[in-house]
Amino acid sequence: MTASPRTAVPTSHPIPAQPPSPAGPAIEPAGPRKNRVELRFDGHWPLILVWLLLLLIPLVASNNYVVSLANAALINLILIASLNLLMGFGGQISLGHAGFFGLGAYASGILNARWGIDAWVGLPAAVIVASLAALLIGIPALRLRGLYLSMATLGFNSILFVLFNRLVGLTGGPNGLLGVKPFSLFGWPLDNEIRAFPLIWLLSFLVMLSIRHLLQSRTGRALRAVATNEMGADAVGIDSFRTKLLFFVIAAAMAGLAGSLYVHTNQYASPETFDISNSILLVVMVALGGSGTNWGPVAGTLILTIVPQLLLDYEDAELMLFGLGMLIVLIVFPAGLAGLPQALVQRFRSRRP
């Protein structure tokens, strides 16, 4: 897997002389492409702006269903963005991301439903459990290249799925985990879509922001180097194993966080949400959105949220339409939908030089 053909990979953390204007895309302060306006949304301002706009959702939504969709979408965004960090920027394909999601959900949910431990304790517990599991799988699996991590995570997810289903006393088995209480704030339970929205909104924003910071940091650049050429990275003094492990654990921790949010928002969890097919679906969404791009996960999340709603009316043909759509996108735009504006601009430019 090679690095995606982005035009300008910042080799050092660009410190803008003055804060970029919130409306326009960030323009490189210096460099050979100075006079060329690029379609880049690399600064923090676009992210902040988008999240401020998202705050309007509960206000303008015509019904609670729209807000619950937004909640689900933001939780999925955490999953897709963290997988994109690992897969798109790090070149490591995990087929167990839904498993880490489930581990977080069940850890937090079981603590709450079985032992009455508060959701605010469950949230960090979910993050810790998912991180530890990632260490357990990652230490042996990431020493090797190739399909190895994919196989290990696939096996791990299969084992978790069986455990979620069969440890009935703990997980509730195929019927699902019932009786999970929502988060509460100053004794005020966040027990419906609108009340839960601000928390999910805030945490998804923090996740997106930290992913962005991570990628611009020294370790983030090391990760890209490892993804481009592991031996080359080792040669310049990057410990590729530790870099991969770090990001694998970070991605799993974020999935665990999403799991805790999910279980306390829905007050329920059932095994099939966390099976391998969903792990694969997440990989697909990273690719369709635009693997290794900043806005790819957002595009992927939009596909994952909107397309099933559009296909609801087609019942049996739904799966076929989804598969065909996926094939068409992959064959026509292999770089994913987030790369589409850039590709169109380039095509436009090359026609009229």
């Binding site: 897997m1 090679t2 394909i93 042996p140 699996a141 990431l142 020493r143 090797l144 290249r145 190739g146 399909l147 190895y148 994919s150 196989m151 290990a152 696939l154 096996g155 791990f156 299969s158 084992i159 799925f161 069986v162 455990l163 069969r166 592991e230 080792d234 590729s240 194993f241 391998i276 097919s277 694969i280 990989v283 697909v284 690719a287 049996d316 043909a317 799966l319 076929m320 989804f322 598969g323 065909l324 996926m326 094939l327 992959l330 064959i331 292999p334």
Partner: protein, 291 residues
Amino acid sequence: MSTTILQLLVSGIGTGSIYALIALGFNVVFKSTGAMNFAQGEWVVMGGMIAALMANSFSSIAVTCLVAVLLVTIFGMLSERLVIFPLRRPNALLITLVSIGLAICTRSLVMLLLGKKPVGYPGFSKSTTIWMGGVSIQTQTLWIIGLTLAFLAVMHLFFERTILGKALRAAAADREAAAIVGIKVETTVLLSFGIAAFAGALAGAIITPLTLASYDQGAMFSFKGFSAAMLGGVGSLPGAVVGGLALGLLESLGSFYISSDFKDAIAFAVLLAILFARPTGFLGRADIVKV
């Protein structure tokens, strides 16, 4: 006690043969493209479902199965031409993702055309069980083992003796070098999809009398075949056999001696333990690089 073990061994080898066939198909595509082919399991289901649909159309079940397997082979090659061949810049990851889309389309096609109900047909022999060494063995299990062996022998001869098989191996070893000496690399990819679909459909056609075929089993077959291939060593044909048999035996012994509820978890846990201890699988070589 020993008869129980014998029975478990036979059923384990039976299931293991099926996994070996799927793993072989997985390996052939992996060799030619470097990609994981998630459509592999869907061809297994397709083989079984088509054979069930035509169960009364031909003189014998065996002929029906052969026709079904050939139809799926054509379908597999057609799929390659439709979705893999048009890729402008194919790479392993992109082909893997496309194969997921292909798997989804194949599954829904099977569901829409052949129905959602599990279907089956009687085994190849008239009597369903025979007694052997004090244990009753399903005759279809023997057919499975025999046909798998025969297919493996044919595959071995194909890869070692025929010019086409050698071309396939050459293209897998080095695409560019193979292209220089006049091998059409794109054709070898087509051929590998044909072989993989044939192996998968054969597995489906011979297992269906025992387990029934249903449109939604494909992903499970893909994962099992993938696991068997990893266990034996990805890209190695004898490895597919060893890995398949090991996985089959693990499942049958594990479900009897430990817990049938946790059958899959046990199999995967042992699989991970083996992979962590011996990363290249039983017979694998340099496809996985140690850092």
